[in-house]
Amino acid sequence: MGNSYAIESQEMSTSIILQLILSGVTIGSIYAMVALGFNIIYNSTSIINFAQGEFVMLGGMFMVSLVGPLNLPMWVAFPIAVLAVTLIGMAFERLCIHPLKMPSVLSLIIITIAGSILLKGGAMFAWGKETFSLPHFSTEKPILLLEATILPQTVWILGIIGMVVLLLALFFRFTIVGKAMRACAANRPAASLVGINVKRIVLLSFALSAAIGAIAGIIITPISLMDYERGAILGLKGFGAAVLGGLGNPMGAVVAGFLIGIVESLCAGLISSHYKDAVGLVVLLMVLFIKPSGLFGSAQVSKLKKF
């Protein structure tokens, strides 16, 4: 009797671990998306945009309004919500970043923090302080995968993120605008010399990362709900992933996002959910102490950057 019980519990634990990894992959993919947004702006401006998390929150909130009160079908609401947040991202750049002449990195940090306070305050007025939910994109019936179950929404999340990453890679590699953005990332004065309008690239990078943030917010809301204060913690985790992967390295950001999500989820399930938010950071600090420019960051490049 005792023996069969032991075998059973062992099977239980492997399925639990599989389950935990799956939920870590889900949340990690959102961190990866936020980290990608950080990277796009960082590459074209050297700014860490602390309002990145607010774009995620706004994406979820717009979707809630469009699907709920306005009763639009999901596939119509999705692009409208992304477009709305993209416009907000562009307005943010025009109002807060564009007017500055020769700003210092620290004042830029404070400016994006001030921007995030404004976006959060605006969201509080527009939607109030309640927590909102969204219907899942398709059925809520879990799918059985090996010994664990997976929500169809998770499949949606992973699929959409995979597509976003693929499209971004193609965009940066093959389009003329994408190439111009990469040129700005490599060397801004030189890019400006060969005729690239750097100011326009900065605007574009804010639009692009707002759009990516909005998509992340829309697809995560059915699972994790959304309220006006949610942006900060998502932004924090995304910043962590971007740094862990090495700033300026989009692929590193994606890998690091998944890593942090999985580590957090395993910690919450196996050790204690109290320490969930700390364990990802402990891993991050350990990595930075050993490798000061992140997992995939180049030490030479970070030496040349002022910040």
Partner: protein, 301 residues
């Protein structure tokens, strides 16, 4: 300075004095942060953690170990200095955004630990009944006595810092700010100075934390979150990083602004955000930069 001494004589309202007490506590931290950021050029988004370590050490030692406030206060300073030293060695090797993230991460880890170790810290709901500071038979309980104590400490810390700035150490720190590479080449031991000023700023924060614990007599993790760390950095940057006086100016403004905005109810967050934004857009050198500019203009006419 004279105004500081004269202020409580005209202003007897305990509510306003209470605000001034908090302004003093925040000033202690922002002065240290201004040494670290403005002079040594290193950012810290985790100073709320040192404030917390000071407050919790004082609180726990006086309530659970029944120590009197002064030895607890010194123990808090020693503990904070040791932690800052140990954290500082690997952290201050990092640069720019990596340093920002690492200090931020440290602050969050301390915050999570305060919430999670329920037996020790009372967890999210905190703990109370921390004794007040007593000097002989005199208990520091009224707002006026708190005001005097905290601002006396601010003046001591300020004088010490100003003295430091104008010494060899201060010159070394400024050389690190301009160019760490060049400072190193000139024979300045940059990592030693960076760690020293980091530990010093942590000690200031710990002093502020101990005072906070004994004044408020109740502490919970909510007062030591990331938002508070960011507020501290904001105070320094808004006031003007290039100067300790700038940090004081920023602290005064950002302590008074929320009080002033209280009448606006929910709109306060919008006004607060836009004020911050406008200051940074139109005064990139901070308030103190503006003061300096006005003074030179005035001097010319």
């Amino acid at each position: 300075m004279l105004g500081l001494v004269a202020l409580p004589m005209v202003m007897r309202n305990p509510y306003y004095l209470g605000i001034m007490v908090f302004m003093g506590i925040y000033s202690l931290i922002s002065i240290g942060l201004s040494l670290l950021m403005g002079y040594a050029g290193q950012i810290s988004l985790g100073h709320a953690a040192f404030f917390a370590i000071g407050a919790y050490t004082s609180g726990i030692l006086t309530t659970k170990a029944h120590l009197s406030p002064l030895p607890a206060f010194l123990a808090a300073i020693v503990l904070t200095a040791c932690i800052a030293f140990l954290i500082g060695i690997p952290t201050l090797r990092l640069k720019g955004h990596y340093l920002a993230m690492a200090t931020l991460g440290f602050g969050q880890i301390v915050y999570v630990a305060l919430n999670a170790s329920v037996d020790f810290t009372g967890g999210p709901s905190g703990f109370g009944e921390i004794p007040r500071i007593a000097l002989g038979n005199f208990v520091v309980e009224s707002q006026l006595s708190r005001y005097c104590l905290v601002w006396a400490l601010v003046i001591i810390v300020l004088l010490f810092s100003l003295n430091l700035i104008h010494s060899r150490v201060g010159r070394a720190l400024r050389s690190i700010h301009s160019s760490e590479l060049a400072a190193n080449a000139m024979g300045v031991n940059t990592s030693k100075y960076k760690i020293q000023v980091f530990v010093l700023s942590a000690i200031y924060a710990s002093i502020a934390g101990s005072l906070y614990a004994h004044f408020v007599t109740f502490i919970s993790p909510g007062s030591f979150d990331l938002e508070f760390s960011i507020l501290l950095v904001t105070m320094v940057v808004v006031g003007g990083m290039a100067n300790v006086w700038g940090a004081l100016l920023g602290t005064v403004l950002l302590t008074l602004l929320p009080e002033f905005l209280r009448g606006f109810k929910d709109y306060d967050i919008l006004i607060y955000g836009s004020t911050l934004l406008l200051i940074m857009i139109f005064m990139p050198e901070g308030l103190f930069g503006l003061v300096k500019k006005l003074r030179t203009v005035h001097g010319k006419t």
